[in-house]
Structure formats: structure tokens, C-alpha cells
Point group: C2
Amino acid sequence: MKLSTRGRYGLKAMVDLAVNYGGGMVSTATLAAMQGISDAYLEQLIAALRKAGLVNSVRGAQGGYSLARPPDQINVNEVLRVLEGSTTVMECVGTERAECGNACSCSARPLWLKLQNRIDEVLDSTTLADMAEDYKFQRNRMQTMQNHIE
Amino acid sequence: MKLSTRGRYGLKAMVDLAVNYGGGMVSTATLAAMQGISDAYLEQLIAALRKAGLVNSVRGAQGGYSLARPPDQINVNEVLRVLEGSTTVMECVGTERAECGNACSCSARPLWLKLQNRIDEVLDSTTLADMAEDYKFQRNRMQTMQNHIE
DNA sequence: AATAATTCCAACTAAGTAACTATGGATTAT
DNA sequence: ATAATCCATAGTTACTTAGTTGGAATTATT
């Protein structure tokens, strides 16, 4: 059930781009540094997101990446699908509907369907804008706290 | 995000035991045959469930396994935790609370928490009795259909 | 024109995990 | 005594994860 680091790092990078939306290009070096991971690895993740049309890129010096659409028009499910391959707990409940043969008499199928529905509800309804909002609020609180301590 | 075959096979075996609840011991050979998998592999999964106290065993000829508690008192989360190690999408949202260091300013944490809540809602509230019910109903329907065709 | 910063691309690798298989011992109904 | 069963551990094969490495193409800056 675990999410891989691709999903973790890639999604957080997208939130960073969301926070920066409208503010020009951000390089992989910057994005990678924010999470303390290697430039090259993050590059791979972003490459997938670019091929999927979720980010735009500009090559050369001062180049970088930016979101291809406004943050409130990109949901988490889209992002994770690109990074993780799919977000289904089971092949037989995906959109591809790869049935396992005994689908109509599988004792677990109703459970997987219900579970997948709940998961999709969360992933579909959360956008990068939501996450960026939370994040800014949180950072702001921490800043305030810092100031208070000083 | 995928569940492994351990979770799939093991849970279905538990449902089979739930259907048979009160009807004596069932051998791994029988349980394995029901799912078309190897006896030895299923044995491993059942062993884990036994060590966790979810099933009772009787050795020797005519021995086998049975649920340690009534089916309505075993929920899916317990079972999957034993088989999969844990059912969390991320270390930082488990009961162990293995925080990742930047937990309070992680842009994704609110999402993981919400997602995990929804998942647990489903897994905690579904019991083996629920699954066995669904299953019997489904099998019954298929039987009726068969009879109609003949 | 040269340089430095950057994206882009494709392999390669090391470690871990999944999904089994194999073997043999311990126990118990018949 | 025998056959059926659980119990325990170790081995195997293939796949996946989580990166690293090396370099080519592009572009702003000097």
C-alpha cells in the first residue's frame, strides 16, 4: 500500500511549483535542494510530468519548469498516476478494468471497489492549489512562532 | 499503492474460513485449492495469521485452521496489517508516528493524513462477516442463474 | 564567440522486495 | 504403522525501487 519516493518527491515538487506559480521558471537544482535530494533523480520525475503535459519547460541558462495549468486545475490523482503508474490498490478496480477472471464471484472485490472509491474521492478532489494554500498557511504560522520566540 | 498477493490471497482465505465458521477445521490444501495457488505459499500466509492470533490451528490428520474469533469481530484492517506489514500509505501517518523530520512543514502531510483516514474508515469498518455475507449472496445469485439456464 | 547554466536522454547499478519453491521435522486421527 | 496435516526455515528467481553516471542539446549572459 505504500507510496514510492517517486510519488512523494514528485508531488512535493509540484506543490513547490504551485507556490511559485506565475513567478517564472524554477530549475531542478532548486527543486531538488528544497527536498534535499539529488538533482538527477528529481530530473527523472519531472521529465515524466513534462511528457504527461503537466509542466512546461524552458531549456538553457535561466531555464527551468513551471506548471502547465493553474494549480487549482491540477489534481493530485493526475500527478500521482504519472509518477506511480497508477493509484489503484488492485488491477481489477482500475479504469482499464483488468478483470481477474473470477470477478463476479470474488469475495474481496466489493471491498476493493469501495476502498478505491474512497481513495479516488480524496485524490480527485485535492488540487495543487489546496496543498499550496495549506503549505503557505503552515509556513506562516511557523514564522509567527519564530518571531514570538525571538 | 498496490496490495501484494499476500494481502489478496490471505484475506480471501480468511473469508473462506469465515464462510466455514462453526464448521470445523479447514486444511491449507483446501484453502489453497479454492484460490488455485500452491499449498506451501498459502501455508506461509496462514502461519503469520496464526502467530498474530487471528486463526487457531490443529495439527495432524483431519487438522486444519479455523477463525480464532467470530467473523464479525475480525476486521479487514487487522488481517491486512498482519499480511502486508502495515496498511499505511506513508510511514509518517502510521500509529508508530515515524515522523520524517519536517512533518510540521511538509506540504503533503495533510493530504496523507486525510487519505489514510478514509482508507482506515473502510478497512476498520468492514469485517469478515460482511465479506462472507456478500460472498454467499453473490454465489447464491450465480447458482440461481445457473439453475435458470438449465 | 565563449562560457556557464540548464534541460534532455539513455544506460547502468546496487539493494531490496515479491512471490514463490523445497525440504524436512513434529503431531495426531485412523 | 501410516497417512494427513501443521510447522519452520532456507533457498530461488524475477522484478522493482531508488537512485547514479555520462553526455548531448539549448540558451542567457559576458
